[in-house]
């Protein structure tokens, strides 16, 4: 009880003297706020990318690619294979008994960003005639759907907002073909909104290709996936890999989100080291400024534990304030901001930065760690102060 009273009394005295040390204390608060703001906002990219990718795909949809392909872009399925896939078990069928699938192909289009005119790669996806049944979430929000056998495209909402030349009526020239934008679509904020779509046969014909790259199938239910997979594996005429659509998009974003996270932790780590030194400096100054008080309290019989805890508590509170400010800055200025980055096999991915509550908590935890590290040595100095010498120095 006495110990708690000691700690409480010394800590309260520390905080009451804070206004006299406001400028040095601000160094810690601002430094740590900067670290947390940078860390949280960079990690928000990774979180946003993962969130977009996780919202893409359904458990009752599966993607079939050539055996060994890591992405649709590197896969190839000839017409015969695409036909054989339609006979597999587990595929949902329409009222007429036809399998609900979309044999698809894609190619990269070179477009320019509205923001900085940078050249980026965007996916143009060729889809099958049953695409709207396979992807019922796709809605045309402006213009109309493309027509088969003509070079018309619809563009995703995110691509439309981020890239140049994608308004309805614009023409995108690529490899000698002029693609007219006839509509804008949305798919609930998933990865497809970063791409353009057209009719697969038109794209194959223009590109003079003879094959599709993947087949997306709507299954009878999520649990029908295993039967679908087993059925394809059992067919000796097919050499394909099958993956749930949701899982596929998560895999596609993994590398990029890992890279972003590594960058965030490396940059955040370097800044954190700087902030630890700032905190060290400030807390050493705080201990120096309070040398007389500390020496007096020690002389009167206050223990070293009370000194350690009080200095650490001050560092922790300053760090906590900095951490909360940093997290709020990241949330205020970056949450919901739209950015784009390479989405691996997905071409350029447009997504919103997501400053989520767990991310903000992570930032505050970092701040607390910085505070404790920065306060530890000054706290030990306060505890080990030779009282007689310190009193004489006063």
């Amino acid at each position: 009880m006495k110990m708690f009273r000691q700690i409480g009394a010394v800590t309260a005295m520390n905080f009451r003297s804070l206004p006299q040390r406001v400028s040095t204390s601000l160094v810690v608060v601002i430094g740590i706020a900067g670290v947390v703001a940078v860390l949280v906002s960079v990690l928000a990219m990774s979180t946003g990318l993962i969130r977009t990718m996780q919202s893409t795909g359904r458990d009752d949809r599966a993607i079939v690619m050539r055996n060994g392909s890591i992405a649709e872009t590197s896969s190839a399925l000839d017409r015969n294979s695409a036909k054989l896939i339609l006979d597999a078990e587990g595929i949902k069928r329409d009222a007429d008994g036809n399998p609900i699938t979309s044999a698809e192909t894609m190619r990269i289009l070179s477009l320019r960003k509205k923001q900085d005119d940078a050249e980026i790669n965007v996916i143009l996806r060729g889809v099958g005639p049953k695409m709207l049944e396979v992807r019922p979430e796709l809605k045309i929000i402006e213009g109309r759907m493309f027509q088969p056998a003509v070079t018309e495209v619809i563009v995703g909402k995110a691509a439309h907002s981020q890239f140049k030349g994608l308004n309805v009526g614009d023409v995108v020239n690529s490899r000698g073909a002029n693609w007219t934008v006839v509509g804008v679509f949305e798919t609930g904020g998933d990865a497809h909104e970063s791409s353009l779509m057209t009719y697969a046969e038109t794209l194959i014909s223009i590109d003079q290709r003879g094959a599709f790259q993947s087949v997306t199938a709507l299954l009878e239910s999520p649990s029908a996936f295993q039967a679908f997979k087993d059925s394809l594996s059992a067919n000796p005429a097919l050499a394909v890999d099958v993956i749930r659509e949701r899982e596929y998009y998560q895999q596609q974003s993994k590398t990029m989100s890992t890279i972003i996270s590594v960058i965030a932790y490396v940059v955040g780590g370097i800044m954190a080291v700087g902030a630890v030194f700032a905190a060290l400096n400030t807390m050493y100054s705080a201990v120096s400024a309070r040398l007389q008080e500390i020496a007096t309290l020690r002389a009167l019989g206050f223990g070293s534990t009370a000194m350690v805890v009080s200095v650490l508590a001050e560092a922790l509170v300053l760090a906590l304030i900095g951490g909360v400010i940093g997290a709020l800055i990241a949330w205020l200025f970056f949450n919901g901001n739209t950015v784009s980055t390479s989405g691996g096999g997905m071409g350029q991915m447009v997504f919103e930065l997501a400053v989520s509550p767990p991310l903000m908590i992570l930032g505050v935890v970092w701040a607390c760690i910085i505070g404790v590290l920065g306060g530890l040595f000054p706290a030990m100095r306060a505890a080990r102060l030779p009282v007689a010498m310190a009193l004489r120095a006063v």
């Binding site: 002389a299 009167l300 009193l391």
Partner: protein, 230 residues
């Protein structure tokens, strides 16, 4: 009379750079309960070092220091803190009040180390402030008080926990003559009416006149020891 403080063959040396500086050389001393001792001597004679050893702020290099029956030269740092809280009241030259606290909160500080209830602490603070004549300044902060008043608050803080021994390091060193006399009168009254044992380091012969015993140190050795009739 029983000796409250006993020093036996006490030496104290410091290392400064590569040099060993011996400040006290085999000091033997007994201070009786109820004495008011003035420690005098030129700068560097070892007065403050001796005071720090008696107050448990420092440890001797060799020898024994017995205060209130405890061999404090054998106590650990932590135990010495607790011991000081129980037995010593400090009065410093520059008052050493905590600037963010009011006079009454400053006086209460040593009581935070006891098990006393809040109301009992308040009661004792009130008594101590009345004793030094500053009850009406209880809510003032140190920077709102004169030097003499600040030293009175420091005296109230030193006596509030009823310590065994009061140690004063140049208590009038920062005060004008009038305030110095008031403080010395107060200390003398505490010694005479409350039977407080006081050990005071001072350069000031006028301050030393208030003590019942004068001890002169010279180059780390006791040079002259004289008692004054009450």
């Amino acid at each position: 009379m029983t000796a409250l403080v006993t020093l036996r063959n006490v030496t104290k040396s410091y290392v400064r750079g590569k040099q060993k500086v011996e400040v006290l050389h085999g000091v033997d001393l007994a201070i009786e309960r109820g004495e008011f001792l003035a420690l005098m001597g030129p700068s560097g004679s070892g007065k403050t070092t001796l005071l720090n050893l008696v107050a448990g702020l420092d440890q001797p290099t060799s020898g024994e220091v017995l205060v209130a029956g405890d061999r404090i030269d054998q106590l650990s740092r932590g135990s010495l803190s607790d011991w000081r809280a129980r037995h010593i009241g400090f009065i410093f030259q520059f008052y050493n009040l905590l600037p963010v606290l009011t006079a009454e909160a400053n006086v209460e500080v040593p009581l935070l180390l006891t098990d006393l209830s809040r109301s009992e602490r308040r009661r004792r603070v009130q008594i101590a402030l009345e004793l030094v004549g500053l009850a009406d300044r209880a809510r003032h902060k140190p920077n709102e008080l004169s030097g003499g008043q600040q030293q009175r608050v420091a005296i109230a803080r030193a006596i509030v926990s009823d310590p065994t021994l009061l140690v004063c390091d140049e208590p009038t060193g920062d005060l004008d003559r009038q305030n110095a006399e008031e403080i010395m009168n107060l200390l003398q009254a505490l010694n005479r009416s409350q039977n407080k044992t006081i050990v005071m380091v001072t350069h000031d012969p006028k301050a030393a006149e208030y003590a019942s015993r004068e001890l002169h140190l010279d180059k780390g050795r006791l040079a002259n020891d004289s008692r004054r009739a009450a």
